[in-house]
Structure formats: structure tokens, C-alpha cells
């Protein structure tokens, strides 16, 4: 008798445990070197849907010990928003913003190769809801047979999708003058095999319209010292993936910068978030961000995609290997949401109230980097998000002169990022990019924060199995 597959066994186990719940488990097909990497919850409630896009694998160290980011938003049923025009929501520019949130979600589902019934149900659920006031634009990566996208799909996924979004935003809303030369920051927890040509391609996407000579790509990647002194010590380095060859190559191509983490007290919480952005410093205490891309996509060709010339197809193709999901957060979309009747609405709040009532509506929104000093100084003059007394205070505040709402973005690393110090022989590893040794002879020396020698001890369940942790570690990163 043929043994059931792993996911069938998982389904049976969950069905047994979750009596009354209809459980389906699907392992989407991915090409070699690809992975199903997206971290997404789509939760349907009676009155709406909640989309949660985050960066954590569902294991203990990721949830508790790493720096992780998340976007989530509730959306109402289309039946609840029918007939709601500009007059109703007080937002005249709603229809001028490209609306493709639903289309991207559906495209993602289409590529998962779900069983027909499951795909149909999921798509029906997605279609029931109104995403007009999403706070950003979705950007997903999906592999497709033969793992390449062409024609209409050429600009639809990965970093090409981000390029398209930013081009449209630049054309529609424009950016301030400083934008054209603002540096691009890329921060992730895994390094692919980067080349100078590929970095130029990424810059063309994250800084469309800017000359590549004017724009620098600042890559944030933890040093060996930062891993050594992290909460998980050496073990935590297992989630920050790069070979020494890739790390050194990245150092040759880009300027590497330390993780830092001091802005939000996360010096010892290694990054597992993945962030792309541009920034400029205004004065000594404000860092402005024209957009922020939060996603599961690491800086790799598998995740962000790669343009390739195909002799077989005689055309330019866009190759993506992994399933990923992210969102480009844009001030214009944030403004539209905050001016709409659905601002602050939650599909799990029984009262069904939004926070729009009594809310002063801003004329513009500006993203700035969160800082402790700004948060403290704004305590006394915080914007009241609602007249309701049970509504929590907001960290946002109003720039009174321009009626612009300032929205802090809690990025852990410094902006500008701190470059690696010059190579020294003293107290090594502070200038060495983290990588995972592939041979036992090349392991890192010294004890980590927990007093353990490399490769450290730990477990993805938060439970060390005595006598097996080292084998677990090695087995893990060699797989």
C-alpha cells in the first residue's frame, strides 16, 4: 500500500485535532532553488477580510528573538461599500489611484496550483471584498512554467512589479526634488548571488528614472560580531543565510552596512525582516521616506526575479523561482485611507465603528523614520485619531504649517546606515560580513552571548534537545 504524502499526513493530523474544521494542506510546486517563502494570512470574517503580510516563519526564534515587520489591514465587503462615491468618503482622488490589489492577490492564488475547489473558494472570498483603500500596492513573486514570465507578465512580478508601481507613482504624484538622488537601501536576511549587472537592474527598479551614477545601493547585512552577540547567538545565524563567497562578492559590488538595530532597541535581535526603501535626511532629526517596500523577498534573483534573454523564446523573459509577497507602502495611498470612511475600521470590532468620525483630515501624508526622541516629544501634542475615548493614542502627528500628517515608520536600522568599520586585526568580526561556514574547519571562533562556541545551541521550537542540537544545526543549514 502506498504511503500517504507528507502533506496528506499533516492534513489528517490537523483534521483529527481540529474537529469540525475543513482542512486542506497544499505544497505548491517550486522550481529548483525556489521556495514557497511568502508569509501571509488571509482571514475571512463575517463582516470583512484581514490581510496580514509579515516576515516571520512560524517558529519560536522568528517570532520572539528576531526583528520582524508586518503590514495588516482590514477590508470591508463590497456590498458594504456599494454606492459609496467620493461624496461619501470625502476622498476625491480615490479613482485616480491604480487599483490592482485584488488582481495581484488573485494572480498569486492562480499560480499556487491549488486544487480547483480550494482555489475557487479562496478566490471567491477575495473577490467579495473591497480593496479600494489599501494603504499600499501589492507586489508578489510567483514562478511560472517554465519558470519565466514574458509578454504581459514581464512587468507583473518581483522587482519589475515594484519598478512599475514606482514609475506610476512618480508620474501621478511626483516626488520631491531630493528624490532623484536619494540612496536606495536594501535589507534582508539572505543574500543571493549578486552581480554588478543585477545590482544595476535592481537600482533601475527601486530608483526608476534616476541615473544609476547618482544613486547608491546601500546593502544592510549583519556582521559576524552582530550575530555572535545576538539573542540567539551563533544559532541565530542559521536564519541569516549567505555563503562566504556570496557575502564577499556582495561586499565587492555594494557598500555593506551594519544591521545596527539601535533605533528601536533591537541591536541583539537579528534581522529577519526584508525592507527596501529610499530616504533623505532633513536636518538632524528627520529622515523622510518616499516609499517603503515590506516583503518576504530577500536580495536574490530567486525572490526578486531576474530578466534573462531567451534564445528559445527569442525574447526577454523575467525569471522568478520563489513564491513571495510584499507591499509597497505609499504616502498617497495612506492619505486616501485616512481620508476615507473606512479609516480605522476593523472587521473584528463588534461596534463596526471606524475612526473617521470626528477625525481631522490631513491634506498630505509624509513618511518619516520612527525615532525615540520624536516619539517622546510628540507625546504632548499627539494627534487625536478619534473623539472616542477608548481609542489608543497614535504615534502620528500633524505638521500644523502644512496640514500634513507625519507617519513614523519604525525601521530598526539607522538612516543613513552605518558602514562597516575599516578592516582591523583587533577584535575581529566587527568588520566581517556574516556568512555560514560550509566546512567545519572554517567555523567562527569565540563564544557567543550565551557562552556557547560555534555553532551554538538552540531550537526552532524553543526547546533544546540535549545531545542533538549541534547535529540539528548542521543538518539544518546543509539542507
Amino acid at each position: 500500500m502506498k504511503e500517504p504524502s507528507q502533506h496528506e499526513m499533516l492534513r489528517r493530523a490537523l483534521t483529527s485535532a481540529l474537529a469540525g474544521v475543513d482542512v486542506s494542506v497544499v505544497a505548491p510546486t517550486v522550481p529548483e532553488y525556489g521556495t514557497h517563502h511568502s508569509k501571509v494570512f488571509v482571514l475571512q470574517y463575517e463582516r470583512g477580510i484581514r490581510i496580514v503580510i509579515h516576515t516571520a516563519n512560524l517558529v519560536y526564534p522568528d517570532f520572539c528573538n528576531k526583528s520582524q515587520s508586518v503590514y495588516y489591514q482590514d477590508f470591508p465587503l463590497k456590498t458594504a461599500t456599494e454606492g459609496e462615491g467620493d461624496e461619501g468618503n470625502g476622498n476625491a482622488d480615490a479613482d485616480e489611484r491604480p487599483q490592482d490589489f485584488e488582481a495581484q492577490l488573485l494572480a498569486y492564488v492562480d499560480h499556487l496550483s491549488l486544487p480547483a475547489a480550494a482555489a475557487s473558494q479562496l478566490k471567491d472570498v477575495i473577490r467579495l471584498h473591497d480593496y479600494t483603500y489599501a494603504r499600499g500596492r501589492l507586489a508578489v513573486s510567483v514562478p511560472s512554467k517554465p519558470w519565466e514570465h514574458k509578454d504581459g507578465d514581464y512587468m507583473a512580478f518581483g522587482h519589475h512589479r515594484v519598478r512599475k508601481i514606482l514609475q506610476e507613482e512618480r508620474a501621478a504624484a511626483g516626488f520631491e526634488d531630493w528624490y532623484e538622488s536619494a540612496p536606495v537601501v536594501a535589507q534582508g536576511s539572505s543574500l543571493g548571488s549578486l552581480s554588478a549587472r543585477y545590482v544595476d537592474d535592481l537600482l533601475a527598479s527601486f530608483a526608476p528614472g534616476s541615473s544609476k551614477d547618482d544613486v547608491a545601493l546601500e546593502l544592510i547585512w549583519p556582521t559576524v560580531s552582530e550575530v555572535q552577540h545576538a539573542i540567539d547567538g551563533w544559532f541565530g545565524g542559521g536564519s541569516v543565510c549567505a555563503t562566504s563567497e556570496r557575502a564577499n562578492k556582495a561586499r565587492q559590488i555594494c557598500k555593506l552596512h551594519k544591521w545596527g538595530g539601535e533605533v528601536t532597541g533591537r541591536q541583539r535581535a537579528l534581522p529577519h525582516m526584508k525592507t527596501y526603501l529610499r530616504y533623505t535626511c532633513v536636518g538632524d532629526d528627520e529622515v523622510r521616506l518616499p516609499w517603503v517596500f515590506l516583503s518576504s523577498m530577500n536580495a536574490s534573483k530567486a525572490a526578486l526575479g531576474e530578466a534573462v534573454n531567451s534564445k528559445k523564446y527569442g525574447a526577454q523573459l523575467f525569471r522568478v523561482l520563489s513564491f513571495e509577497m510584499g507591499i509597497v507602502l505609499l504616502p498617497r495611498y495612506e492619505l486616501a485611507w485616512r481620508r476615507s470612511a473606512w479609516f480605522g475600521w476593523s472587521c473584528t470590532d463588534a461596534s463596526g465603528r471606524s475612526r473617521a468620525r470626528g477625525q481631522r483630515k490631513p491634506d498630505a501624508v509624509r513618511f518619516v523614520q520612527w525615532s525615540k526622541s520624536a516619539a517622546q516629544s510628540s507625546q504632548s501634542s499627539q494627534l487625536s485619531e478619534s473623539s472616542e475615548s477608548d481609542t489608543p493614542p497614535s504615534p502620528c502627528y500633524m505638521d500644523e504649517g502644512s496640514n500634513t500628517l507625519v507617519v513614523p515608520i519604525p525601521l530598526p536600522f539607522s538612516l543613513p546606515p552605518r558602514p562597516y568599520p575599516p578592516a582591523t586585526t583587533a577584535d575581529g568580526y566587527q568588520d566581517t560580513p556574516w556568512s555560514q561556514p560550509t566546512e567545519l574547519a572554517n567555523v567562527w571562533h569565540g563564544k557567543d552571548m550565551l557562552g556557547n562556541l560555534y555553532p551554538g545551541r538552540g531550537s526552532y521550537q524553543g526547546l533544546v534537545q540535549k545531545g542533538t542540537s549541534e547535529s540539528l544545526w548542521w543538518d539544518m543549514f546543509s539542507s
Binding site: Q6, V21, V25, L58, Q68, L122, R457, Y460, G462
Partner: protein
């Protein structure tokens, strides 16, 4: 009727049959999942759990979900409380994000290194009632009384019963 206590609720009311659709990368060459691997979902073991965990998992009114910032950081262990301030976008709590009565859940996770049931248990029962990490990393410290039944459900199958060994 709530099928899952804690943060995540797939509910059953009337004729509605809640549905969970999970996409994941399955572990290759790893242990296979069985019902024993799935965390207890009845909450019967709450009596064995630390008081602070009980308090945390039972107080998560969905209506206090903070939507003021589009980009937030997860709550992180071992850092000053001021940097886990939820109102500042620094202390995102997944328990709140999956609170409420869910009719249909589509969950997309990466899952290659660990048994899938553990990850999924976290998804559905986001109580994070895992072993206190200080014990995980400092086996040389004196052992304290940890409520084992709830913890052992999260371990790898085939792992030794750590509690039977001397400290």
C-alpha cells in the same frame, strides 16, 4: 463554538463549516506529522501554564487592534519595554491579528526546517506557549519547574524527554 482557545479562532456556528487552507513547503526527509504532534487545542492544559501566559492569552480584545501605522515591528523578547510599545508600532502581537471568529483562513508559510505541525499550531493557536527560552539556551542553569505537558507537544518527534535527565 470555539474550536481553538487562545488567539486564533476558527468558529462553528449554524451551518458554517470553517475552513483552513494552508500552503507550505514541506520538509524533506523529516519526521512525518501525526495527531500527536499537533498542539492541544482544547485549552485544558491552561492550568499547567505559567500565570503570565494565561493572562496574556486571555486578554486580547480584537477591537484594540492598532491600525495607526502601516508598518510595524513584532514584539521582541529581551529588549527594553519602551521598544516593544505597541502604540508606537514596535510591539505587534500576532495573537491580536488572528483574533476573532474566522470563517475561512488561508495561511501561507515557509516551512522546510521544522515539523509542519509546530508551525501550523502556532498559526492556529498563536499562544506561543513554548518553552521559556532562557532554559533553552542555558542548560547549565538550575532547572525550574516548567509545565511540561504543554511544552512537550512542540518538540520534534523522537526527541528525548529532557525532563527525565539530570539538570
Amino acid at each position: 463554538m470555539n474550536l481553538i482557545r487562545g488567539g486564533g479562532l476558527l468558529h462553528r456556528s449554524g451551518s458554517i463549516r470553517p475552513r483552513l487552507l494552508l500552503t507550505t513547503t514541506m520538509g524533506e526527509g523529516r519526521q512525518r506529522a501525526t495527531a500527536e504532534d499537533v498542539v492541544d487545542l482544547t485549552g485544558e492544559e491552561d492550568v499547567d501554564r505559567p500565570a503570565d501566559k494565561r493572562a496574556r492569552t486571555r486578554t486580547h480584545p480584537p477591537s484594540c487592534l492598532d491600525t495607526s501605522l502601516p508598518f510595524q515591528l513584532f514584539r521582541t523578547r529581551g529588549i527594553p519595554a519602551e521598544y516593544n510599545d505597541e502604540q508606537q508600532g514596535l510591539g505587534f502581537d500576532m495573537e491580536k491579528a488572528v483574533a476573532g471568529e474566522i470563517k475561512f483562513a488561508f495561511v501561507s508559510v515557509r516551512h522546510r526546517w521544522v515539523p509542519s505541525c509546530d508551525a501550523l499550531s502556532l498559526t492556529l493557536d498563536v499562544r506561543l506557549n513554548l518553552r521559556p527560552p532562557e532554559l533553552s539556551h542555558r542548560p547549565d542553569l538550575p532547572r525550574v519547574d516548567v509545565p511540561r505537558p504543554a511544552l512537550l507537544r512542540y518538540r520534534h518527534r523522537g526527541a528525548r524527554d529532557e525532563g527525565a535527565e539530570p539538570a
